[in-house]
């Protein structure tokens, strides 16, 4: 098969970092903070590379939108096995207001320009948790979409996608070209090996501006304020009724994205 896959990768604050809101509440502290590829984008890149290894796909192109630093994220995708990269230069105010609407317009324009047959994205980014870019991109292109994918198989010119939904697993068949968004259990992304990182330095990254693609970058949203999550605190209950209401209250609190996962002890050997 000679398909070309476009994979979107986003540079976000590393999942293990403790997020701090800026004192002026205009955003979170990003200076000097470790950034890396969004974990769901890693899964998307891994899936694209796997499809290439299985010979379903001929070329994997990694795309990222942002300032100069996103080139590091594209290089990581190249080290994982992508063939070339496209850096869409967005900086300054445009980068501050960059969101799913603008990115999906960019991806749609690139998909046409590069004649992509498949777009694979992470289901959401861990900084904004929007979960919109994949769906918007598909709508703009009028392509079918397989979101929250935990399994993807190519059958002739169709894609069989198993989706993780609230009720369980839903299997759908969609025609190519299509948009797929990767969920957690789609695969386990490979670590970029050192030799591959060295080889990736020779792969090409093209530079493009949104204007070249005819994309309007203006935002319809204005961020008013960012505030810290209220102190969690602890509570001790000694009777069982109080305990069950406490458990309900604690489990129903929304989980903040970007919070560090708790360490898991594994058995020694």
């Amino acid at each position: 098969m000679s398909a070309r896959v476009l994979v979107g990768v986003k540079r976000v604050i590393d999942y293990a970092v403790k997020i701090r809101v800026k004192p002026d509440h205009t955003g979170v502290v990003t200076d000097g903070v470790k950034h890396s590829m969004n974990p769901f984008c890693e899964i998307a890149v891994e899936e694209a590379v796997k499809l290439k290894e299985k010979k379903f796909v001929k070329e994997v192109v990694a795309v990222s939108c942002g300032p100069q630093q996103v080139q590091e994220t594209i290089r990581t995708a190249l080290a994982m096995g992508a063939d070339r990269g496209i850096h869409v230069e967005v900086s300054g105010k445009d980068y501050e207001t960059l969101g799913p609407l603008q990115v999906s317009k960019i991806l749609a324009a690139l998909a046409k320009k590069e004649q992509a047959d498949l777009i694979i994205l992470g289901k959401q980014a861990i900084d904004d948790d929007c979960n919109q870019t994949g769906q918007m991109t598909a709508a703009l292109l009028d392509w079918p979409q397989g979101t929250f994918a935990s399994e993807v198989n190519i059958e002739a010119d169709m894609l069989k996608v198993v989706r993780e939904v609230d009720g369980g697993l839903e299997t759908i068949k969609i025609k190519l070209p299509a948009v797929v968004t990767a969920d957690l259990r789609l695969n386990t992304p490979r670590y970029a090996t050192l030799p591959n990182i060295m080889k990736a330095k020779k792969k090409k990254i093209a530079n493009v501006k949104p204007a070249d693609l005819g994309v309007d970058m203006s935002s319809r949203l204005e961020v008013l304020k960012n505030i810290e999550e209220a102190d969690a605190g602890g509570a001790v209950q000694t009777n069982t009724e109080g305990l069950s209401s406490l458990v309900m209250e604690q489990t129903l609190r929304p989980v903040k994205s970007g919070s560090a996962p708790s360490p898991i002890q594994t058995r020694p050997m």
């Binding site: 030799p195 360490p263 058995r267």
Partner: protein
């Protein structure tokens, strides 16, 4: 040697723990209560805990030794706080026990004489990564998997893999090793520098502050004095580690053998052939049987080798083919190998789940892992004799080992409430350790001396070496406050 003995005699008045007689416990309840306000001044209210649940949590690790909780647990946030707290403890003669992740296997964190547990988990920063120099400095709260996740964009990793997600400074303290040691070495080979807080609060940089040359011949090797000291010489607050590049390609393989001898012969020949083998793991027939039952697998129930090769993609096929030839020449069969991650995972599943498979042999029982290491050529003999011992004494003890290093573990599954069985297991482990010592080996390849192997250490290194160790201990910790009752 006489000069040294004279020096020892001079200091022996400050070594109450070897001078016979009874040793008064230094942790009095009153002393602890008096210092808690001082601790709070240093580490804040939330940095000091006397809650019984917290203390019990910090009084046990993953060994079979019973929980020995400290009197108080402190949570310092920086080396300055560790030093200040240590000065207070030193002044009031309180024992200090460093605590990383509590994943040790020899009871190293038990507070035998009460005292203060220094839980270092709040110091969790990865500092100073130097990619081109292949080194990184980490604080005690950084675990092995945490560091490798941090490094994932760089193509570098820290390969020492003891199984548990342990604190790297804790791994330095116990001189940890793992399945990868045959290729990448143990902590002894991979720690470049340490920052240690001594019993009196002094902050020591074992190789000089900030220094990280890949090799040095400058002065006494203080870094490796502290590696493996199990918290008895000081509290490690930073370790500088040697990193490696993640290999381009990894291939896993499995092969069964008609006998332990043929498996070990294959191992030696693979090493001699210069194949860059990264892991060679041995599972005996009892273990394979347990794994088959636990995971519904169908490996041949025979001594089995699990192998992993690291290297460039081009060289993989050649390495596998050389190894396959060697195993065949030694009577091996069912050689299977895989390069992609999923199939590799399936091939190695038996080895990964060995601990749980062993436990599943006797539900409701606890597991205890022995840990001896002998020169590779003696491995067949010691494994055969050990298996005979297990059968004779009716002990459930499947065997898994890092055969490339001559190190193996019996995963003994026992009922802790059966005193006769406990006694039999205890005698068995002593016999096993002595068997290893008789074969020029060691009573502990990876887990450390901790609480239970102090007598064996004496047999292993001899009374003179013990005296030297005690002299060093006395010089660094004359009041015996650092993790008393361990190692020596």
């Amino acid at each position: 040697m006489t000069l040294f003995r004279q020096a020892l005699l001079f200091t022996s008045s400050r070594l109450p723990f070897i001078c016979g007689g009874c040793r008064t416990y230094s942790a009095q309840a009153g002393a602890v209560e008096r210092v808690i306000p001082a601790f709070r001044t240093v580490s804040g209210d939330e940095g000091v805990s006397v809650g019984s649940a917290v203390r019990e949590q910090h009084g046990r690790d993953e060994s079979v030794h019973r929980c020995q909780p400290p009197d108080v647990v402190v949570f310092p946030r920086s080396v300055e706080e560790v030093s200040a707290l240590a000065k207070i403890c030193h002044h009031h003669q309180l024992p200090m026990i460093p605590f990383g992740t509590g994943t040790g296997l020899e009871g190293g964190v038990g507070a035998l004489k009460g005292g203060v547990c220094f839980s270092l988990r709040k110091m969790d920063q990865v500092l100073d990564l130097h990619q081109e120099d292949f080194d990184v400095t980490v604080e005690p709260g950084v675990t092995r998997k945490g560091l490798n996740s941090y490094l994932r964009d760089t193509g570098l990793w820290f390969p020492v893999d003891p199984g548990a997600d342990a604190s790297l400074c804790g791994m330095a303290a116990t001189s940890a090793s793992g399945t990868n040691a045959v290729r990448y070495g143990t902590m002894r080979e991979n720690v470049l520098n340490l920052e240690v807080v001594l019993a009196d609060g002094t902050v020591l940089h074992t190789a000089g502050k900030g220094r990280r040359p890949r090799k040095t011949s400058a002065g006494y090797n203080l870094t490796n004095l502290f590696v493996g000291s199990e918290g008895t010489l000081g509290i490690i607050t930073k370790t500088t580690l040697r990193l490696f590049g993640i290999p381009e390609s990894m291939v896993s393989a499995v092969c069964s053998f008609p006998s332990v001898q043929s498996a070990v012969d294959s191992t030696v020949q693979v090493l001699q052939a210069g194949v860059p083998i990264a892991r060679i793991e041995f599972l005996d027939d009892v273990m394979i049987n347990a794994c088959n039952r636990f995971n519904n697998l169908s490996y041949a129930v025979a001594p089995t080798l699990f192998l992993e090769f690291h290297g460039s993609s081009k060289s993989m096929e050649e390495q596998v083919s050389i190894t396959e030839d060697i195993t065949r020449d030694n009577g091996g069969s069912d050689f299977a190998w895989a390069e992609d991650e999923e199939t590799r995972g399936r091939l190695w599943k038996a080895r990964h789940d060995a601990w749980y498979a062993a436990l599943a042999l006797r539900p409701g029982c606890k597991a205890y892992s022995t840990d001896v290491c002998v020169p590779i050529s003696r491995l067949p003999q010691i494994i055969v004799e050990t298996k005979e011992d297990l059968i004779r004494n009716n002990i459930t003890g499947p065997i898994a080992g890092h055969v490339g290093d001559g190190n193996f573990h019996c995963l003994i599954v026992l009922d802790p409430n059966d005193p006769d069985e406990v006694q039999r297991v205890h005698s068995f482990t002593e016999r096993l350790a002595r068997r290893a010592l008789a074969m020029d080996g060691t009573c502990t390849g990876e887990h450390g001396i901790g609480l239970g192997k102090r007598a064996l250490l004496r047999e292993e290194v001899g009374p003179l070496a013990i005296e030297v160790m005690q002299g060093l201990k006395a010089s660094l910790d004359p009041k015996n406050l650092m993790n008393p009752g361990k190692v020596l």
